[in-house]
Structure formats: structure tokens, C-alpha cells
């Protein structure tokens, strides 16, 4: 941690740009930084510092991989109730910086709801803590939330404290298929409006296979059985099929396929999911694009578009973004050809808060040392 402080302080003094890096799984997300002089790897900050299992909290260093943390927590039957992408390689610092939430969010909230404390190193070498080790705490500003989703542009996260949840006794996934995505989205809404206590809810659709809806439950057998019965009643008109292997990791496949392609993320109101999926289909018809969507019932999801040229992707992306924004949603291009990223605002409009974002950046990283230009509005 002190090494981090020294390195950052020296780099800002010398006007160098520093790119914090965890497992390196998402370094290409967002705009390429304007400048990169040093990569700061957290790989050696990889310890689980404390697992206060009786209090259900854990303190972990930023470079620890998600899988390692989970493995260590499992010794006491607990977990961080979050299932981000590529847990074997992704680090805690990385998932926090990119706010990479998984499918469990429907029940346990996002990372912002699970993190209760953070240690940050600012570019001037200041080491600052915020939050604490107890699940309930309102002393001072909530900087763990500021760090979450800041894409390494404000400070380097060196430690985080999380609230934990027990590992489930039993889990169950039910999958339904249909010829079109609409009835599946309808069912997703009906489930969210029901009294079912699901933990994950995911719609999968793509240009080549049948769309599907996955519903995940956790709990005791008796509870699961009766919830299953109720779900089957709700889904009476749909066909139940076997879930594919690693069903809750299928969104990882959106990073594979033919190139040129873009992989991005979107967020819409739950009721707009259906229209958004339909729109992805529509923008991919003429000229024909390969496409895939994996979306969570809460309205956030990932998509992939594959075209003959990166040019062919620009207009469809713009139409998709317009569709997402129609009712207050957003669309972000995470990964794609460099020329496309140069032509398209990958983050979309930051709205009227941009000047405030800039002032926050100015206060914490006045020299623009950390990942300059990577984030929204050139931050």
C-alpha cells in the first residue's frame, strides 16, 4: 500500500499517467487512455486480510481474485454475494472499479450495496479510508460508492471491506424457451411482480438460437419445491427446457465470436427490456449482423454485435443507444475496434452532472494522473 502511495506520488510529480490494473480482464473497457506511462499492478496485493465470519464481513486486498476470495470465505460457509465475469482472473479492485455486477444482483444488490469500507490511495500519495467494518455506518461520506464504478480514474483501491452472505443450502435453476423473446420478457416482468423469491433472472437471446429465460432460486428444499410449482403456473404457456451448462456465466460468451465486433452493456427500465431486445434484433437485420444479448431482469445487460466491417456497426449502435435512452436508459460500448471507439462516444452522454464529475476528478486527481481520458466525458 505504501509502495502504491510512493509510486503514485512520484508519477504525479513527474506528470506521468498511471493505469491501475488488476487481473487485466477489462483493461480495454472504455476509451483508451490519452496517455499511459506506468501500469500499476495490484497482483501482489492479494491477501484476504480478515474474515470475521461471525460478523459476516471480510477485508480483502484489491489484487485478490474473486475466486480466491470466494474459496477462502467458503471455509466458513459464506460468500460475497456477487458473481462477476471471469472470477478466476478478475480481481476485487477490478470488479469494483468497473462495477461489474453479476446475476445475483436481483436479490443481494450490486457491489455498491455489498461494499462497506474502502482504502484508497490518491495520486498525491494520500492514503484514505472510508466506511468501516460494520454493515451499518453513516459516519462521513460514502466513498466506497464513489470508488465503485470509477474506472480507476480517481484513486487506486487497495483494500475493500464487504458484507457477506451465507452460501445457499441448495440452488435450483429453471429455464424456459420460446420462439420469440417477447413472451419471455413478459414472464420476467410477471416474476418480478410476483411474490417469488428468486435470486437471479436472466433473458438470453441471439440471432441463431431460440431465446430463453433462466430463473434461479436458493434456499431449503421445501421452499424451492413450492416456488417451482408457483413459477410453473406463471409460465404455463412456455416450454421448459434444461438450462445450458454454466448457465449463469453465459454472458462471458459475449466476448467471443467473429470480429469485428463490439461488446457493450446497457441499462433500461425492466418494462423496456422487451423493446430493447426487439430493437437489437431489428438493427441486426439489414445489413445482417450477428447479435447476442444476455440481460438481467432488473434491466441491465450485455450485448454483442458482429459485422462485416467496423463501419457497419456504427449506425446500428447509434440506433440501439437511441432506443435505450428513450426512457432514461443508457448504452456503453465496452470493447470494440479502435477506429469505432474513436468515432463513437463509447460512454454516451453524461448529462448535466459532467461539470460536477470534472470537479470531483480535479479535487482527487488534479494532475490527471490516473487513467486519463478513459472514462465518461474524457475524464
Amino acid at each position: 500500500m505504501d509502495d502504491v502511495a510512493t509510486l503514485l506520488r512520484d508519477a504525479s510529480r513527474d506528470g506521468q499517467a498511471v493505469i491501475p490494473q488488476g487481473g487485466g480482464t477489462k483493461l480495454d473497457w472504455g476509451q483508451p487512455p490519452r496517455r499511459a506511462d506506468l501500469m500499476l499492478s495490484t497482483a501482489r496485493l492479494d491477501r484476504v486480510l480478515e474474515h470475521a465470519w461471525a460478523d459476516m464481513t471480510a477485508t480483502v486486498e484489491a489484487g485478490c481474485t474473486v475466486a480466491r476470495l470466494q474459496h477462502s470465505l467458503a471455509e466458513h460457509g459464506q460468500r460475497l454475494a456477487c458473481d462477476p465475469l471471469w472470477p478466476e482472473r478478475a480481481t476485487i479492485g477490478g470488479i469494483l472499479a468497473t462495477n461489474d455486477n453479476g446475476t445475483l444482483r436481483a436479490r443481494f444488490g450490486g457491489l455498491r450495496d455489498l461494499i462497506i469500507g474502502v482504502t484508497l490511495v490518491l495520486p498525491d500519495g494520500t492514503v484514505a479510508k472510508s466506511g468501516g467494518k460494520v454493515v451499518k455506518n453513516v459516519a462521513g461520506y460514502d466513498l466506497p460508492k464513489l470508488a465503485t464504478g470509477s474506472f480507476g480514474t480517481l484513486a487506486v483501491i487497495t483494500q475493500a471491506v464487504f458484507r457477506l452472505h451465507p452460501l445457499p443450502h441448495e440452488t435450483r435453476t429453471l429455464t424456459f424457451a420460446a420462439t420469440r423473446v417477447e413472451p419471455l420478457c413478459e414472464l420476467a416482468l410477471a416474476i418480478q411482480g410476483s411474490q417469488l423469491a428468486f435470486v437471479s433472472l436472466q433473458v438470453r437471446a441471439d440471432g441463431s438460437a431460440e431465446p430463453a429465460l433462466d430463473v434461479g432460486f436458493e434456499g431449503e428444499r421445501a421452499g424451492l419445491d413450492s416456488q417451482q410449482d408457483e413459477l410453473l403456473r406463471l409460465a404455463a404457456k412456455l416450454r421448459r427446457v434444461d438450462p445450458p451448462p454454466a448457465v449463469w456465466r453465459t454472458r462471458e460468451e459475449l466476448w467471443q465470436g467473429t470480429e469485428p465486433a463490439v461488446t457493450g452493456t446497457f441499462s433500461v427500465l425492466p418494462t423496456e427490456l422487451r423493446a430493447f431486445c426487439a430493437q437489437v434484433h431489428e438493427v441486426s437485420t439489414a445489413p445482417a449482423l450477428g447479435w447476442r444479448v444476455v440481460a438481467q431482469g432488473v434491466g441491465v445487460g450485455h450485448f454483442r454485435l458482429e459485422g462485416a466491417t467496423s463501419d457497419a456497426l456504427v449506425a446500428p449502435l447509434q440506433r440501439l443507444r437511441a432506443a435505450a435512452e428513450r426512457r432514461g436508459g443508457t448504452l456503453v460500448v465496452l470493447v470494440g475496434p479502435e477506429d469505432l471507439k474513436a468515432r463513437l462516444d463509447v460512454w454516451g452522454s453524461p448529462g448535466d452532472a459532467l461539470p460536477l464529475f470534472q470537479r470531483v476528478k480535479q479535487q482527487l486527481d488534479p494532475q490527471g494522473t490516473l487513467s486519463p481520458g478513459r472514462f465518461v466525458g474524457g475524464l
Binding site: G132, V134, V138, S150, V300
Partner: protein, 482 residues
């Protein structure tokens, strides 16, 4: 006295009936729920629209007048305490529910809307989960500023989990939108930073909330133990078994007596009382209730009652929610304290509180959100007796120190406000506080929005940001720079 020309400008914005300047009118606003701090503001402005808030704040900005936002004034840390020569901006007239979107479980409200009104607007199928005991009277704006908690936050999360977006008037009068109706908007999570900032970053004029589907079954177990230690062991047992109840509340004997005297809650007369609420699908609740009952029994519970109907549950909760006010029945004065400890430290901390209470010769009643380790020790005293108030304050503060020593926090839900700002240095080192204040400078460089609260010392925003200060570990020689 405030310059009459300034008052005229306020009057032009909100009209004659939106501006209070008479001392007897101002008296109502001189304190919040923490009544031992009082300051008379120079004026109170009562806007009815966002534009009026903006215009009022612009006048303050130009004339360099500090302002304090106020919701219902039920805060317990002096957050809404006026600032001398400053004004109070009351949001009590911005009470419209702007949008109810049940399919998306979203509600958009103005800040003066009362907490309970949100639940009423979406009942019976949905509810607004954060439920402070003051929910019938406190405002959503105040909840946002304090990141308020409530019994059901154990399972559902605090206010911050349920606030998706905000419209905020910044201290220079400009308007920003933070967060929104959809999740994960790209950009810094300043909505998350604003929640819990106690009015120091600006004024929220619109709040986008998430509401929650009401579960199929709700059951509340009342379990009587001989001591809070036994009850505490049951709490740990329940959590260790992997059960996440909607709420777990604990009361000690003194708190029970007070609740009995005030609202006849019909609680068993015992040393430690637990309220455990389970909710969810019926089969799941049934299975978990069996498990919870067994754990309570094994920890020494000698009476178990399950409240099931809406009326039975309401009766059980009435005593708990009235607990603070009930203290008036057994003591002329009392201090409500709010500290947090890791749940496992409960037995130690409880016996230490008992020791301190004995030493001070003052009674302490205890009400807790036991599931998340949030203690509310109520220090009872009689202000008419010379020196008791001081002793009570000292006792309340030593309990806070105890919480920090146990690895906890000086406040779980009532905020730092005026009361606890000196204690921030007990919990945080200088660089920690300095970093928070840099964020404050981004919002409020001229320090106009509730400027004297939360932080022990103000930071001048004109200072070049980022002077390096050694971490305490470093100065103590525990860590060193290479």
C-alpha cells in the same frame, strides 16, 4: 438581523407566506430532534418548487449566506440545526408524489413527502423498505440526507439502496441530476455519495425511489430471555445458521418497562426481548420459523409468541417503534445515542455499558437493531438535578468510544450532524477526513450548504488540493515509506 434587501429578494421568490422572519415563527426552527442545541436562524424560506429552491440558493450564493435544508426536523444529531446569520430552507411544502410506476417498482417524489406516504402510495402490493421509527413524520429528503435506517433494513438495505436518482440544487444554485430511473448510469456514483451527506452537498429537490414487492407471508416472533446476553446469543445463532430475517430487534428490561408504560405493548416482562421478523414465500417462512424458534429455545428463551395477522404484528411493533418517546414515561430527560458494533462484540459491550452506567449513577435503557449491531443506548437523567446532564452527556460519549474501540462506528443511522463532529476524529484519521472534504469542495467550494456540520474542522477549498499528509500509521512508525 438580515439585510432587508436580501429578505425582499427571498420574498420575491417565495411570496410573503413563504418567508418567516418573526422571532416567534423562527423559534419552531431553532432545533431539530436534538433539542439541547438551539440557534435562531435569520429567516426561514419555504419554497414550493425546484425553481424557487434554486433562486433562493442563488441569492445565498451571491450574498454568501449559509443555508441549512430542513425536512421534518426529526433528526437526532443536530443536522438541521440552523447556522447563525444563516437561513433555513424548509422543504416541507414540496410534498408532491410525482410518479408511481408500479411495473418498474419506481416512485418519484419531492423531498418533503413523508416516508410513510411512499408506502401508502404503493400499498398493498408494494412497500418502501427503509422504515425509521419516525416514518410517520420524517421526510424523504431528511432520509436521503441521513441515509436513514429502520428495522427492516437488515434484509432490504438502508435508504441508499433504495435511492436510484436525485435532482439536486448545488450550493451555487445550479441543478444536477445524479443517478436516474435506470441502474448503473455511467459516471461517478454521486447519488451514492449524496445519500448520507447530511445536507452538506446541496439540496435534494426530487428523489427517485425503488419500492419492494410485499412478500407472501410475514411472521413476527417475540422471544423472552432472562438477559440481553442470552438474547444476543440467539441473534448470533440465527445469523450463523444462514437465516436472514427481515428484522431482528432487541430491548432490555428498562426499555420494555417504558414501552409498557407508554403504549401497553403487552410484552413479557423479561431481561432481554427479541423481535424476529421473517418474510418470504410461505413454505420458506414456515421452515425458517421452526429453525429460529429452536435456536431461541436453546439459548434460553422461556416464552415464544408468533404474531401473524396484520393487527397482531402492528401491536408487537408499536412498542418497539415507540421506544424512544416512551422513555419520557420513566425519566424526565434522556439522551438517545446511536452507535454500531460488530455483532459479536455485543456481550462485552453490554457489560461495559452496565459498568459505566453504574459508575455514573445513571440508568441506561437499551434498544437495538440487533441484527446489524446498531445500538441505541438511552441515557436517562433529570436535568433539574445539578450536574446530571453533563454526566449523562459524558456517559453517552464514553459509550460511543466503546463502540469505536470494538471496531464499530459512532453512528449507524442518526448521522454526525452537530453533535458528533468532534468524534469523527476518533473514528477517522486526518487524511480520511481530508479526502471526504475534497469531495465536499467539488460540490460546495464556498462552504454554504450546512457548512458547520459533520467535519471537526472545515477545510478551505481554495487550498491547493492534495497536500500529502503522512498516515497515522506512518507517523507512529508502524508503516514506512520506501
Amino acid at each position: 438581523m438580515m439585510d432587508p434587501r436580501i429578505l425582499d429578494r427571498f420574498r420575491a421568490i417565495v411570496g410573503g407566506d413563504g418567508l418567516l422572519t418573526e422571532p416567534e415563527q423562527l423559534r419552531t426552527y431553532e432545533c431539530d430532534g436534538l433539542t439541547n442545541f438551539r440557534v435562531l436562524p435569520s429567516a426561514v424560506v419555504l419554497p414550493t418548487t425546484t425553481e424557487q429552491v434554486q433562486a433562493t440558493v442563488r441569492v445565498c450564493h451571491e450574498a454568501h449566506i449559509p443555508f441549512v435544508a430542513r425536512g421534518s426536523g426529526t433528526g437526532l444529531s443536530g443536522g438541521a440545526l440552523p447556522i447563525e446569520h444563516g437561513i433555513v430552507i424548509s422543504l416541507a411544502r414540496m410534498v408532491r408524489i410525482l410518479e408511481v410506476d408500479i411495473p418498474n417498482a419506481r416512485v418519484v417524489v419531492e423531498p418533503g413527502v413523508l416516508n410513510l406516504s411512499v408506502t401508502e402510495a404503493v400499498a398493498p402490493a408494494y412497500f418502501y423498505a427503509p422504515d425509521p421509527s419516525s416514518q410517520q413524520v420524517c421526510s424523504i429528503g431528511g432520509n436521503v440526507a441521513e441515509n436513514s435506517g429502520g428495522a427492516h433494513c437488515l434484509k432490504y438495505g438502508f435508504t441508499t439502496t433504495h435511492v436510484l436518482g436525485l435532482e439536486v440544487v448545488l450550493p451555487d444554485g445550479s441543478l444536477v441530476h445524479l443517478g436516474g430511473t435506470t441502474l448503473d448510469r455511467p459516471g461517478y456514483d454521486l447519488c451514492g455519495v449524496f445519500v448520507g451527506s447530511e445536507g452538506t452537498l446541496g439540496i435534494a429537490t426530487k428523489v427517485i425511489l425503488r419500492v419492494v414487492r410485499r412478500p407472501a407471508l410475514i411472521q413476527t416472533l417475540l422471544a423472552a430471555f432472562n438477559s440481553t446476553n442470552e438474547a444476543g446469543a440467539a441473534v448470533s445463532g440465527i445469523i450463523a445458521a444462514g437465516v436472514l430475517p427481515a428484522a431482528i430487534e432487541m430491548m432490555d428490561n428498562l426499555a420494555i418497562q417504558a414501552a409498557e408504560a407508554a403504549v401497553h405493548a403487552n410484552y413479557p416482562d423479561c431481561g432481554g426481548l427479541l423481535l424476529v421478523e421473517l418474510d418470504g414465500p410461505a413454505a420458506e417462512v414456515a421452515a425458517l420459523m421452526t429453525q429460529v424458534r429452536a435456536i431461541c429455545t436453546s439459548c434460553g428463551a422461556w416464552e415464544l409468541r408468533v404474531a401473524q395477522s396484520e393487527e397482531e404484528r402492528a401491536a408487537v411493533w408499536k412498542g418497539r417503534k415507540a421506544a424512544f418517546a416512551a422513555m419520557g414515561r420513566i425519566s424526565p430527560n434522556y439522551i438517545v445515542q446511536d452507535g454500531v458494533i460488530p455483532r459479536t462484540a455485543l456481550p462485552e459491550v453490554m457489560s461495559e455499558i452496565a459498568r459505566l452506567s453504574g459508575q455514573a449513577g445513571l440508568r441506561v435503557a437499551n434498544v437495538f437493531h440487533a441484527g446489524d449491531g446498531n445500538l441505541h443506548p438511552l441515557v436517562l437523567y433529570d436535568a433539574r438535578i445539578e450536574g446530571q446532564e453533563r454526566r449523562a452527556e459524558r456517559l453517552a460519549f464514553s459509550i460511543l468510544e466503546l463502540c469505536v474501540k470494538a471496531g464499530g462506528s459512532i453512528t449507524g443511522e442518526h448521522g454526525v450532524g452537530e453533535e458528533k463532529k468532534a468524534f469523527m476524529s476518533v473514528m477517522f484519521a486526518e487524511p480520511d477526513l481530508d479526502t471526504m472534504q475534497r469531495v465536499r469542495c467539488a460540490f460546495d467550494p464556498e462552504r454554504l450548504s450546512n457548512p458547520t456540520k459533520v467535519f471537526p474542522r472545515p477545510r478551505l477549498c481554495a487550498e491547493k488540493p492534495g497536500p500529502y499528509q503522512p498516515h497515522p500509521l506512518e507517523t507512529a512508525g508502524i508503516a514506512q515509506l520506501f
